[in-house]
Every structure is written in C-alpha cells, then in structure tokens.
C-alpha cells in the first residue's frame, strides 16, 4: 500500500520530464516548426506587434522572435545537455580510473583538482574563454572543462566511498574484478546521485551559457542563443521590454523545469 502511494507522488513530481522532452523536440525540429527564417533581416518590419503571422512580434532587425526562440533551444538547452553529457562521461572514466588506481596518480589528481576548484567555475571558464576567444565551440569547451573537474572529483570520492563497502570486498572474493566490478556494483549504486546532480546542473550551465553570450564572450550574433537575445534586447528595454522578457522567461522556464526534475529524481532513490 505504502509503495503504491509513494509511486503516485513521484510520478506526479516527474511532470517536468515530458515538458522538457517537448521543448527538446521543438528544438530538434525547429527548422520545421519555425514560422519564419530566424536570421532573415527585414528592417521595414522591425518592432512589429504580435500577430498571426508573427506570434511574438519582431525584433529591432525585423526578425521573427518566436522563430528565434525556437532555434535558440538548440543553442541554450541543447548545448547545456551536450556539455553535461560529455562532462559526466569523461568524469566517470577519469574519476573511476584514479579511484581504483590510487597511489601517486590519485594524489596528483586531487592536488590539481583542488587548485582548479579553488577558483569559482565561472572565473575559470572566463579565463579559458579569454584564452580561446569567444565562440560557441569555445564556450562548450570551457564549460565541459570546468564541469569535468568538478564531476571527476566528485565521482572519485563516490567511488572511494563505495570501495570501502563490504559488498565490494564480497564481490572481489566472489571473483568479480575490473570493469565487471564497476558495471555490476559501482555504477548501479552511484547512478541515482549522479543523475540528480547532472540534471540539477543543466540549469546552471544554461545560465552560464546565457551569461557568457550576454557579456559578449560566448555565442556571437546573429545566432539566436537566448542570452544573446537578452543582450540584443537590452538596448530597447524602454520601448520594447518584451524583447528581453521572452528569452528571459524561456531561460527561467527551462532552468526551473530542470531543478524540479532534479529534486524529484533525488526523492526517487
């Protein structure tokens, strides 16, 4: 009886998952669902009010705002997912490797991580972007790198925490070793906390991508990344505040959905 009730609460708590899926699909099929070319400039049509033709109006260059938001899903939401996935896969390999090897490799790994983690991730990413130059690719690289440090350090600790557990010793005695040990015993026990933290951080990464674009270090015009759109809209904040509002709301919505998802994933374990 208890179990059934618990499940019901959880499935209610997971409503953010289908919503996020829909947003993801919209981004994937953006070229099909977009009413207009999001990059087509037409000064004659600038600052149009919402209409059937332009559901959210047009911006200062006469580009369709809705189309830009839809294509922007790829750059904001899509890049964040790519960053998180690449970072966590690399972190799993690296973290598991040092945790199982220990010794001097582990020692050096910890020191280097601790030095890098002493900087706030944003500052670290700033430095990297300054070195590499502003572009979408470099934003991805910089954020993958900062996430990777943080995650591999975390996964190493999680692995070492489990290392000491008796069931790992029991499994070794049973003859399980190497990669089988990792797959059968470490991963199933680590997956819930890892999935939760990765989902939680997607929101953070979206905000960071947007932040970089906003200050001009990230995605460059005319790519319709949401942070970029907020940046472009800010010149017209008095006359047309909605140009900042739409992409701003899109960011808030996706970040909230991810945080909600993460919180409920945490409860599922």
């Amino acid at each position: 009886m208890n179990l059934v009730r618990k499940d019901r609460v959880h499935s209610k708590g997971l409503f953010s998952l289908p919503l996020l899926l829909i947003i993801g699909l919209l981004g994937l099929f953006a070229p099909i669902v977009m009413p207009h070319d999001p990059l087509a400039v037409d000064i004659a049509k600038k600052f149009l009010a919402p209409s059937w033709d332009y559901p959210l109006g047009t911006d200062h260059l006469g580009r369709c705002v809705l189309s830009r938001l839809l294509l922007g899903i790829r750059y904001s939401f899509g890049s964040a997912l790519v960053i998180q996935l690449v970072a966590i896969v690399l972190a799993l390999l690296l973290g598991a490797f040092v945790a199982l090897k220990r010794g001097i490799i582990d020692f050096l790994f910890i020191r280097i991580c601790d030095i890098l983690l002493a900087f706030p991730t944003l500052v670290l990413a700033f430095g990297l972007l300054g070195l590499l130059g502003p572009s979408l690719k470099n934003v991805l690289l910089a954020l993958i790198f900062t996430q990777l440090i943080y995650y591999s350090r975390m996964i190493r600790s999680l692995f070492i925490g489990i290392n000491k557990k008796e069931f790992i010793q029991a499994a070794r005695i049973t003859g399980t070793s190497g990669i089988k040990l990792v797959i059968r015993h470490y991963i199933p026990n680590l997956l819930p906390p890892i999935v939760t933290i990765v989902a939680l951080d997607v929101g953070k990464v979206i905000l960071e991508i947007a932040g970089f674009s906003f200050i001009g270090l990230g995605v460059q015009a005319p790519i319709p990344e949401w942070g970029m759109m907020v940046n472009e809209g800010k010149q017209y904040i008095r006359q047309h505040p909605e140009l900042m509002l739409y992409p701003g709301l899109a960011i808030v919505l996706v970040v909230l959905l991810f945080n909600h998802l993460a919180n409920n994933l945490k409860k599922l374990d």
Partner: protein, 266 residues
C-alpha cells in the same frame, strides 16, 4: 599444505603515500599457523582481538603490513593475476555482517549467479537451476530469488551468504561469525551441512567466532587470540592453560541448574 600464514603483522593508521603518520599499536603481531586440506580450524578471541582482520588478510583483500600468506604454496599478495583468479575460486568467505556483504541493488538471484558468471559458462536456465540448488542447500525457498537483500531477515541473509560461498565448491571457506546470528535450530542445520560438505568435498574451514561452544563442535583445532597475538592452540583433547582461554571457557554459560548454582559469575 593448503594455507600457510607466516609472521603476519598489521598496523592501521598509515597513509599509503606521503605524509605518513606515526604507526598505531599493531592489530596483529607475529601470527603464524598453517592449515591442511579438509581441516577445520577455529579461531576464538575476545571482541577486538583482531580475528576479522586476520580473516580479511587470509582472504587476500587486506594487505598485511608484514609477513606472507601462502595459499596452496602461492603468495596471495604477489601472485600473478592468473593465479589470483584461480585462487579466488578456491578461497571463499562468509562475513560477520551479512547485510553489508550484499550490493543493495542486486536481487538474490543476481547475487547468487555472480560466482557462476565469473567462472562458468552456464546459460541462463543452467544458472537458475544452480541458484535453486544452492537455496535448497541452505533451506531457503526459491521464491526468494526476486527479492532484494533488505527484504530478507538476518538469518535468511546469512544463509544466502553461505550459499554464495558454497557456489563454486571452494577448498577453503573463512566463516567470520557466520552463524552467530542464526537461531539455534538453524545453526545446527548449517553446522551439519558444513560438516557433510567437508567430508564430501574435502572442504577446509576457518571458523572465526567468540562462541567457544559452537567452535569446539566444529573444529579440529582452536587457536586462541588475544590483543592481536595467537596465545594458545587447543587440540583434540581440549586442554588449555593460557588465562585468555580460561576466560573464554569461563564465559560459557552453564546450562544445568546445579552447575549454575556453583558457577555464578565469580
């Protein structure tokens, strides 16, 4: 000789690399003994005397600070990985804390099929058959296979542990308080089972316990430990001299009222 333990010492409180701290008092000192095939050796001692630590060292999962462990003549801690894999098959264990010996995300079936996955090339239905046989052996119902360890009682968990240790017909099983948590009837069953297997398969046991009575029943010889040292070996005749053995014997609660009267916790 099946097992030779030579001059084992163990200290805790050392970091493996850099910043070595000062050594703490040794948990094991100069432990030396050996074991024949098919023999049953008891190890008794008070709590904290280092029995479990010795057990883990014998099993090859905790490196001793000094000394060596030879299993069938091969040093456990310097063996090639091929040898190690072979030894893993012959050297099994049942631990003190049954629940913690299970991966909480595995079902009983997954737990019990693991040894077969590692060493045999059975297909799924053969493994199911084997798992059923194992459960039968420790008197558990095969309906339990889809349960998780947390859904079993302590005694059931311990029997699953014993079943897992028996799966590959090892040459030596280290039983660390393996049956202390079972009820008396079951203890007797398991002891009988272990003894039958011992005869049939020339299985050797190291039976670690603070329960001197059960140990005496099971073992050919008993080693008494105190503060990390072996202080006495009690043979078939049951004669002992050392005060530590004396203390353990005194601690056996007399069962007969008459004895109780003149043996009240002096």
């Amino acid at each position: 000789m099946l097992l030779e333990v030579k001059n084992i010492e163990k200290h805790y409180g050392q970091r493996p690399f850099l910043f070595k701290r000062g050594q703490e008092a040794p948990v094991l000192q100069k432990v030396t003994f050996s074991l024949q095939e098919g023999e049953c050796l008891g190890i008794v001692g008070q709590s904290g005397s280092g029995k479990s630590t010795l057990g883990r060292i014998i099993l090859g999962i905790e490196r001793p600070t000094n000394g060596e462990v030879l299993f069938q003549g091969i040093n456990l801690y310097t063996a090639t990985s091929k040898h190690k894999k072979m030894m893993r098959r012959d050297l099994q264990a049942v631990f003190q804390n049954s629940y913690h010996s299970f991966n909480p995300k595995q079902t009983i079936f997954e737990i019990l099929e693991e040894p077969f996955l590692n060493f045999e090339h059975f297909n799924k239905s053969e493994r199911q058959q084997k798992v059923r046989e194992l459960l039968d052996c420790v008197e558990l119902e095969s309906a339990l296979t889809q349960n998780y360890p947390s859904q079993l009682s302590g005694g059931q968990q311990q029997r699953v542990n014993i079943a897992r240790a028996l799966a590959l017909h090892p040459k030596l099983i280290v039983l660390d308080e393996a049956i202390s948590s079972l009820d008396m009837i079951l203890q007797k069953h398991i002891i009988q089972l272990l003894q039958t297997l011992q005869k049939e398969m020339k299985l050797a046991y190291i039976f670690i316990s603070h329960d001197l009575q059960a140990t005496r029943f099971m073992s050919d010889r008993i080693l008494v430990m105190q503060h990390g040292q072996l202080v006495e070996e009690i043979g078939e005749d049951g004669a002992y001299q050392h005060p530590a053995s004396q203390e353990l014997y005194n601690a056996i609660l007399p069962s007969h009222p008459r004895e109780r009267a003149n043996n009240r916790f002096e």
